[in-house]
C-alpha cells in the first residue's frame, strides 16, 4: 500500500482574490502531514491542469467564495481530457446548496462548507485518496 505523503494542489480559479480560507487550509493540511502546493488566485483552468500534471498531485482543492465554483465543471472536463481522472477534486468555501448536485455530478469528490474543521477536511481527503489508491491497486 502506498503510504507516501499526500500531495495537494490548493488553488483558486476565476476572479476572486479572498485567500484567508485557503491559507488556513494550507496550514491545516501541512500540519496533517500532507505536501501542499499553494498557488496565487486567478488561475486559469489550463494552468491548474498543467500544475497538477507537473507536480503529480493526488488532490486538487479549490477555494471559492464568490461564484468561481461555477466554472469547476469545466475544470473537471479538462482533467478528464488530460487523463487526470484519478485526481481527487475537493471544493471549499461558499458553495450554495442549489449548486451542490451539479458539482457532484461533474465528479467533485467533496464539498466543504463553512464550519468544517481543518481536521475534518484532512481526514476526508485522506479517505478519498485511500479509496482511489485501493482502486488503482486492484486495477
Amino acid at each position: 500500500m502506498n503510504d507516501s505523503p499526500i500531495r495537494v494542489l490548493l488553488t483558486k480559479i476565476g476572479l476572486d482574490g479572498h485567500d484567508r480560507g485557503i491559507r488556513l487550509v494550507a496550514t491545516g493540511l501541512r500540519d496533517a502531514g500532507m505536501e501542499v502546493i499553494l498557488t496565487p488566485p486567478w488561475m486559469k483552468i489550463d494552468d491548474v491542469v498543467w500544475i497538477a500534471l507537473q507536480e503529480d498531485v493526488q488532490v486538487i482543492g479549490i477555494s471559492s467564495l464568490s461564484c468561481d465554483h461555477l466554472v469547476v465543471p469545466k475544470l473537471m472536463q479538462r482533467l478528464r481530457e488530460s487523463q487526470l481522472d484519478d485526481v481527487v477534486v475537493v471544493l471549499g468555501g461558499i458553495i450554495p446548496k442549489c449548486d451542490v448536485p451539479s458539482l457532484m455530478d461533474s465528479g467533485v469528490a467533496a464539498i466543504f462548507h463553512p464550519g468544517t474543521s481543518l481536521d475534518q477536511i484532512a481526514s476526508e481527503i485522506r479517505n478519498h485518496v485511500a479509496a482511489r489508491r485501493l482502486v488503482a491497486a486492484i486495477a
Binding site: 476572479l15 482574490g17 486567478w42 461564484c67 461555477l70 450554495p96 462548507h113 481543518l118
Partner: protein, 559 residues
C-alpha cells in the same frame, strides 16, 4: 480624616465586599476573558479604571479635540448617517432597477459595486461569461454607466464608487455629469477602494497596477480632484479588508492609520499642503459583532487620527482632523448555517457602528454570506438601518456610551494597542515597506489562525456553526441570486457593438495619449484617463494600457 478620604472609604469597603461575593458566584478558577484584540476584559469597571476628572483630556465635546465623542457638533441630530447600501449585480439595467428600489426604501446614497471582472481590470469579453455579474455589475463603457445611473441626479446624491486605481468609474461619472451639464464642483462621492496598500495586503482582487504605478495614479487622482471636483472624497482608507482577512480590531485600526499616514506623507512629499487635501480622505471599517470593542475602536480612531495629523504633519484646519468613516457590517461574522440568524447579527453590528459615530453605513443582507443579496433580503438590510435610526432612539443622544467606565477604559486600551501597532510599522520604515516586506500580512495571517483555532475549539461560539446546530434538513434553503444568462449574453453583444462602432482613429489617439501621460511624471495620469474614455476607450483598455506603462500589479512575488 478629611472629607474626601472618608468619601473614598465607603466605596472601597463595598468594592471589597462585591469582589468577595462575586468570587462566590463564579466558578473558580475563573477563565480569563479577552476581546478579539486580546485585551483582558474584567467583570466590572469602576471609577478606579476611569473617572470624569479625565473628561476634558479624554473626551471633550463633539466636534472638538480630542474628538472622542464625534467629529461634528450635532452628529445625528444634525443629519443621520448616510444609509448607503452596496449595490452590484448583473447588467447595468439590473443595477439601475435595484438602486432605484433601494433609494425608494430609505437609502440616501449610491454605492456602486462593479463585477469581479472589472475589479480585476478586465472587460467582460476577456472573461468566462459564467463569472459575469454574479457579484457586481458588468460595466465597461461610458454607455454602460449611462444606463446604470439613468434617472439618478448626479449632483444631488453622493456617489460611492468601488473603483480601484486608475478610477475609471469616477471618470465615467465625470463624463456623464458633463453630458448632463452638472458641474464637477457639484459632484459628491467617494473613490472607494483607492487604498491600494489594503489590496496588496488583503483584498488582492482589487489590486491592478504595480505598487509604484498605483502610487503615481493615486497622487494624480487626489491632485486632479482637489482642483476640479473638490467635493469628491479621493481616498477611502480601508481597514475592512484587513479585518476580514483576520486582523483584530485593534490591529486593523493601527495598520489602517499607518496606511493613512503613509498616504499623507506621500502627498506632502509631492508638494501638497496637508490642509488642502486631507479633509477628502475618509476611512472604511468593518463593524464586527464584538460590540463594545468596535465602539471603542471607532472612538479611539477619532482621537488618534486628529492627534497624529497634528503631531506629524502640522495639520491645523479642523476639517482636516475629522476622522470620517464608513462602516460595513462584518461579513465574516455571518454564517451559511441558519442564515436568518444573520439578520440579528447585522442589527447588532450596525448598532456598534452607530454607537461608534459612523458617518455612513452599509448593512449586509442575511444571504450575503452566500451570494449577492436578493431584492427581498436587501430591503430587510436597509430597513434594519431605518429601525436603528428612527425606532430605537439611539441617534437622539450624541455618543450615548461616553462616560461609561468600561467603554472609556476600553477606548484608552484600544488606542494604546493601535498605537503600538503604528510604532511597530514605523520601526519598519512605514506602511509601504512593512507591506512590501510581508510584515503586515504575516501579522494578519497569525491573527486569522488564532481566531480559527478558537472557533474550532469552541472557545469562540458561533451560533449554528459550533454550537446550537440544527439538523441539516431543518436549515432554510434560500433562493440564490444569479444573473439572467440571456441578459449577460446581450451585454457581450452590446460591448462588441460598442467596440465596433467607435472611431478607431480617435480611440488610438486617446490610448496613445494615455500611454504618453503615464510615461511623463509632469502630466496628470487621471486627467488622461478621462480623456481616453472620452475618446471611446473601455475600462479594460485603460487598465491594460496603464499596466503596460506602469507595471502589472500582483501581490504575489514572482507572478
Amino acid at each position: 480624616m478629611s472629607a474626601s478620604r472618608q468619601a473614598r472609604m465607603i466605596p472601597d469597603q463595598s468594592l471589597a465586599r462585591w469582589s468577595w461575593e462575586y468570587a462566590q458566584q463564579v466558578p473558580q478558577p475563573e477563565i480569563e476573558r479577552r476581546n478579539r484584540s486580546g485585551i483582558v476584559v474584567k467583570p466590572l469597571y469602576t471609577p478606579q479604571d476611569w473617572d470624569s476628572s479625565r473628561y476634558q483630556a479624554d473626551l471633550g465635546y463633539p466636534g472638538q479635540a480630542p474628538y472622542a465623542r464625534g467629529i461634528y457638533p450635532a452628529m445625528y441630530r444634525g443629519r443621520t448617517w448616510s444609509r448607503r447600501m452596496l449595490v452590484g449585480l448583473g447588467t447595468p439595467e439590473d443595477f439601475n432597477l435595484r438602486q432605484k428600489e433601494m433609494l425608494a426604501s430609505g437609502t440616501t446614497a449610491v454605492n456602486f459595486i462593479p463585477c469581479n471582472s472589472v475589479f480585476r481590470g478586465y472587460d467582460i469579453d476577456e472573461v468566462d461569461p459564467l463569472l459575469i455579474g454574479t457579484c457586481g455589475t458588468a460595466v465597461n463603457t461610458l454607455d454602460d454607466m449611462r444606463i446604470a445611473l439613468d434617472g439618478i441626479d448626479l449632483g444631488a446624491v453622493s456617489l460611492g464608487m468601488n473603483d480601484p486605481s486608475p478610477f475609471t468609474l469616477a471618470a465615467f461619472v465625470m463624463l456623464l455629469a458633463e453630458e448632463q451639464n452638472t458641474p464637477w464642483s457639484d459632484l459628491t462621492g467617494t473613490s472607494n477602494q483607492a487604498d491600494f496598500i489594503s489590496h496588496y495586503v488583503a483584498n488582492h482582487m482589487f489590486y491592478r497596477l504595480s505598487l509604484e504605478g498605483s502610487r503615481r495614479v493615486l497622487l494624480d487622482h487626489i491632485r486632479f480632484m482637489a482642483a476640479q471636483a473638490p467635493g469628491w472624497n479621493t481616498l477611502s482608507i480601508v481597514g475592512q479588508h484587513m479585518q476580514q482577512a483576520g486582523a483584530t480590531p485593534a490591529q486593523t485600526l493601527g495598520f489602517t492609520l499607518s496606511s493613512a499616514l503613509w498616504y499623507v506623507d506621500s502627498c506632502c512629499r509631492s508638494g501638497m499642503n496637508v490642509d488642502d487635501f486631507v479633509h477628502r480622505f475618509t476611512f472604511f471599517f468593518d463593524s464586527s459583532i464584538s460590540l463594545f470593542e468596535e465602539v471603542a475602536k471607532f472612538r479611539a480612531g477619532r482621537r488618534l487620527w486628529a492627534r497624529l495629523l497634528r503631531e506629524r504633519f502640522g495639520a491645523k484646519s479642523p476639517r482636516s482632523l475629522r476622522f470620517k468613516f464608513h462602516a460595513q457590517t462584518s461579513g465574516v461574522d455571518l454564517t451559511q448555517q441558519q442564515p436568518i440568524n444573520n439578520i440579528a447579527r447585522v442589527a447588532l453590528q450596525a448598532l456598534a457602528a452607530v454607537l461608534g459615530g459612523a458617518q455612513s453605513l452599509h448593512t449586509d443582507a442575511y444571504d450575503e454570506a452566500l451570494a449577492t443579496p436578493s431584492p427581498e433580503t436587501a430591503i430587510i438590510a436597509i430597513m434594519t438601518q431605518n429601525i436603528i435610526a428612527e425606532e430605537t432612539g439611539v441617534a437622539d443622544v450624541i455618543d450615548p456610551l461616553g462616560g461609561s467606565y468600561y467603554l472609556e477604559t476600553l477606548t484608552n486600551e484600544m488606542e494604546q494597542k493601535a498605537l503600538d501597532v503604528i510604532e511597530s510599522v514605523d520601526s519598519r520604515g512605514g506602511m509601504f515597506e512593512a507591506v512590501r516586506t510581508g510584515f503586515v500580512q504575516a501579522q494578519i495571517g497569525e491573527s486569522a489562525r488564532q481566531f480559527q483555532e478558537k472557533v474550532d475549539s469552541g472557545e469562540q461560539t458561533v451560533v449554528g456553526v459550533n454550537k446550537y446546530r440544527l439538523p441539516e434538513e431543518e436549515e432554510a434553503d434560500m433562493p440564490i441570486y444569479r444573473p439572467d444568462q440571456r441578459a449577460i449574453a446581450a451585454q457581450y453583444e452590446r460591448l462588441a457593438r460598442y467596440k465596433k462602432e467607435r472611431s478607431q482613429a480617435t480611440l488610438r489617439r486617446g490610448l496613445d495619449e494615455l500611454a504618453r501621460a503615464a510615461g511623463d511624471p509632469a502630466r496628470n495620469v487621471f486627467g488622461a484617463v478621462i480623456e481616453a474614455i472620452r475618446s471611446g476607450a473601455t475600462h479594460g483598455e485603460v487598465v491594460g494600457t496603464l499596466r503596460t506603462e506602469l507595471g502589472f500589479g500582483s501581490p504575489y512575488p514572482g507572478t
